[in-house]
């Protein structure tokens, strides 16, 4: 049973608003009284994913589904896609511009952080079509 479904449209290349959806998700999870550590992991995963949509894919949509035993985060964009997934997953690999580096991102740690802090990370990406990232974080019973 779904307890909560949140949906956001994330603007592309808006370096100021980037992260706002993640902040709202965090506050919503807190209101549900979800475990502190689970919220922290969701926040890290969602924020890195949101930043990626903003800086690499000209924005997209974010959906967060909360169930009794898990939080599912789905980030979908119509950006350029990822051609070499293995390379993209490596710590330190980044195609980010200097502008992105000045924000404190773009060091190639986003996808590795998302993998580290989610219980499962699935990325479906097609070059020229877009990318869909699905992350699941379990809520311990």
């Amino acid at each position: 049973m779904e307890k909560l479904h949140l949906h956001y449209d994330v603007e592309g290349n808006d370096f100021i608003a980037a992260g706002e959806a993640s902040g709202q998700v965090k506050r919503a999870l807190r209101q549900l009284g979800i475990d502190f550590e689970v919220i922290r992991r969701c926040a890290i995963c969602m924020y890195e994913g949101e930043i990626n949509m903003v800086v690499h894919a000209d924005g997209g949509t974010a959906d967060v589904m909360v169930e009794k035993d898990k939080v599912t985060i789905i980030l979908e964009d119509r950006g350029p896609g990822i051609s070499d997934m293995e390379l993209a997953m490596q710590e330190g690999y980044s195609t980010a511009s200097q502008d992105v580096r000045e924000l404190g991102f773009g060091a190639g740690m986003g996808l590795p952080n998302m993998k580290k802090y989610s219980d499962s990370l699935e990325i479906n990406s097609e070059v020229g079509k877009g990318t869909k990232v699905t992350m699941v974080i379990h809520i311990p019973g």
Binding site: S22, I44, G104, A107
Partner: protein, 114 residues
């Protein structure tokens, strides 16, 4: 360590959150890379950084960091200070560079995030 003590140790000025200086800080993290902050910070930590854009506030918000020290006398914009205030944060600015400011806090007994 209370934020009031952090302020004294770093000769810092208070940009916002004057009324929150008796908050307790358990550890500190110095970084210009927000992904590192997301990867390593523990609870009730303070962040020292040389960056002054909104992503610093977003990152701190994600990690429940409620005190940020801008190093090397960097001054964030008035909008960013307001944004920090809205998020109930204490924002400080110290004239010291990152390494020296970190050393001062470490010497005064504030440990690293482990």
């Amino acid at each position: 360590m209370r934020i009031q003590r952090v302020r004294e140790v770093l000769d810092a000025s208070v940009l916002c959150g004057e009324e929150l200086l008796d908050r307790e800080i358990l550890s500190a993290c110095a970084a210009d890379l927000m992904s590192d902050v997301l990867a390593y910070v523990k609870t009730e930590a303070l962040l020292l950084t040389g960056l002054t854009n909104t992503q610093v506030i977003h990152t701190a918000d994600m990690m429940d960091i409620n005190c940020i020290v801008f190093v090397r006398g960097k001054m964030p914009s008035q909008e960013l200070i307001e944004y920090g205030r809205k998020h109930d944060m204490v924002l400080l600015s110290t004239p010291h560079k990152m390494y020296y400011a970190s050393g001062l806090l470490y010497n005064a007994g504030l440990g690293a995030c482990r």
